[in-house]
Every structure is written in C-alpha cells, then in structure tokens.
Symmetry: C2
Subunit: 233 residues, 2 copies
C-alpha cells in the first residue's frame, strides 16, 4: 500500500531550471560593473542587497532586478549610467520571458506517479512569474492543485495542508531546497525527498537532516518512483 | 432571506487606500525628472511604460518601480544619475512599508456583515505586498478566505468560485474597479456593487453597466448593509 496520498513538488530547480537564469543575469551585472569592481566583490554585495531587500520585496525576478539596480548604483557610487541601468532592466525582462527548461526525467516521472498519487505544486515566489512558468512548462495538467506561497515556513505548509485536507503523515514533499522544501515539512511530521540541484542559491542552504524520520535523498527525480515502491514495500 | 451567501471584497481602494501611494511616488518621479520634462508628459510616458510592461511584470509596486526607473532612463535619454535612480528605489521601498490606511466605515461595515454573510477578499497584485497589507490592515480576521490573484478576468473568478463551492448567483462582489471587480463578475451571472473611489488608475476605467441585472452602485461602503437589507426585503 502506498505510504502517502499526496506528493508536493517544489517547482524552481525541481521541475524546471531556474537558478541558471539568475546566474546569467548576475554575470551580465558583473560585466556592466567590471570597470568598477572585481566580480567576487560584486557577487558578495549583490547577495547582501538581496538579503536586505527580502523583507521589503520578497522573492522573484522583479525583486532581484531591483536589487541588481541598487547594487549597481551603490558599487559605482552613483556613476552608473542610465543606459547601464536600462541594460539591467532588459536583463530582468529577458529572465521573465525566457524559455522554461523542464528538468530531465520530470515528464515521465509525473506521468508515472499521477497513476497512484495526487500531485500538487508548492512554489515560492512571485505569483505572476510562477503562474506564467507553470503555463509555459506544459506541466500544469499533472497537478490537481498549484499553490504559490510568499514563504515556505512551517506555518505556510500547515495552513495549506489543512485547507486541502491532507494529513502531514500522508504527505511527501519533493524539492531541491533543504531550507524551504525539506526542513519545514519534516517539522510538521511530514515526509520529504531532497533532490540536490548543482545550482542552489546560497540563501536556501542548510544542513541535511540525515537519519531523521521521513527524510530521504535521491540523486535525480527519475529515481523517485523506485524510492516510493521501496517505501510501499 | 439574504439574497447572497458570500460577499467578496476587492482590497486596494475598497478596504484601504492604495492609489494615493502610487500617486505620491509618481509625483516624486515628476520632481526628479522636472529638469528634463513637463509633468503631464512624464505621467503620460510612465503610463505607456506601465502598459507595455504589464505582460512581463504584472501588477504591484515592484513592477511600478521598474517602470518608473525605465521611464526615468528614457525621458532623460540615459542622463538620469545613479543617485536619482536610488531615490526611485527608495520611493518604492517606502511604498511597500507605508502604513495601511483603512477606508472610513470599513471596520463597522465588516463587523455588521460578518453576522449574516461569509466574507472573502479577492485582490489582484503581488502576493508578497498584498499579504503584508492584509496583515497590517488588521482586517484579516473578518474574512474566511483571502485570495490573491494575478488577474481579475472572468476565468479567474470562475475558477475561484468553483473551488470555494460558491454559485455565482449567490455571490456579490464589492469593489472600486468596474473593469476588474464588477464587469467580470456580472459576466458570470454574479452580482456586483460598484463603490467609486475618487482616485482610480486609468487602466481600471470602464463604462458603468447601468441597468444590468445584478449591478448596484453606492457612494461609500457604509451604505452596503442598507442596500443588502433592501435587496433581501
């Protein structure tokens, strides 16, 4: 018998590539500011600006764009030109319009799992961006519910699971962020599969909770049906 | 007998003041650009930029900030300084942090209506901003559900009402935007009360559907209980 009723998937860097788009934009910023500073310093200061702005702006590409602009002003001591600023805004627009690159094994894994489980998406970030990405990914039809949350704290998961009538013990969350996808769900008595992604934003890092009940780790999403078969044993 | 089960409220400029914050920021932009152009021209070009960016950026303060920055670059032909750009970002941050000013008559009206109706909020815009405003308004407890949507098209309302198990005929939407709150709900066979606000974004304007079944207009939200009594009568 399956051990879970519902499987929740993170979206960015779990179902489709995301961080690579941010890194490309960040590299563009380093080029623009290359006559002012070293790339490592730019990266460090951008991260600091992002962290400072998180409470005001939240997650997503528009917040990132505002932080890039602010970093450019700061690191150039106000000397950044209007045209350079425009280049940054254009990079943000390109990020929002960029193709959604579905991760290897995702479609066949979802097809397989949809036969035995109710599938949902729980993704953090900007409502507008995330809806657009679900639509462009072509994956929308696999999911009975798509929830876009402003934060992935335990209380956000608790509220959602309650609203959808899902017992945490019968829920499995799948994602690439220990901090956002794994730890909060385990803290509610739920289950979680960590699938590391080679690019993960520093802000999402945490220690893997090895040995904790309900915690699993696999190398790629194609191994998920196998893990579930073993657990159903 | 009440004619409706559920009353949906728009939030910005229906429950609390919103447009005035955008206008204040826009005035700040006009000051910054005053040595380049006339205020009317700046306003016109900002609106054009906003409309062009809507499909990429969606609604909300961060989108507005990016459009202000882009307008500043464009209208100054790239000569806008880094410090001026920083001033625009600071204005956006101030917008996000600004106090939520609840509109007159709102708390007592909600207290009254909550005795006979299920109340929900349906608001458009940025998930992060809107959640923060609900929290800061102190009005959250009146509502059994708060839905933040990326768009207020008929299909967004239809999906939401279906999900919440509400028949459009038993639903009344209350808001200050004919385009977003009134017309789409009427098109589904629902009911809607238009409460004009003296500041309404040009993008939200439409012709009032005088005489259409299910359409009502009142001067301020304090008159809503009276209207509902008459309709129930």
């Amino acid at each position: 018998m399956p051990r879970f009723d519902v499987i929740g998937f993170d979206a960015d860097d779990t179902l489709w590539q995301n961080e690579q788009i941010f890194i490309a934009a960040q590299n563009r910023l380093k080029e623009i500011l290359s006559h002012y500073h070293r790339p490592e310093w730019i990266e460090e200061r951008l991260y600091e600006t992002e962290m400072r702005n998180l409470q005001h702006f939240g997650y997503g590409i528009k917040s990132f764009a505002l932080s890039m602009i602010e970093t450019a002003v700061e690191l150039s001591e106000g000397r950044v030109s209007g045209h350079e600023i425009q280049t940054i805004i254009d990079a943000a627009r390109a990020m929002l319009a960029s193709e959604v690159e579905v991760i290897t094994h995702v479609p066949e894994t979802l097809t397989h799992l949809a036969q035995s489980y109710r599938l949902i998406v729980i993704t953090k970030g900007d409502l507008f961006d995330q809806e657009a990405k679900v639509a462009r990914s072509g994956l929308g039809a696999y999911f009975e519910h798509i929830e876009i949350v402003s934060n992935k704290r335990p209380e956000n998961y608790a509220r959602l699971l309650e609203r959808l009538g899902i017992a945490p013990q019968r829920f499995l969350m799948v994602g690439n962020s220990l901090r956002s996808d794994i730890l909060p769900v385990l803290s509610l008595g739920g289950n979680a599969v960590y699938i590391p992604h080679h690019l993960t934003w520093a802000h999402e890092a945490a220690e893997p909770p090895f040995g904790q009940v309900g915690y699993y780790e696999i190398e790629h999403i194609g191994l998920l049906p196998n893990l579930l078969r073993e657990l159903a044993g």
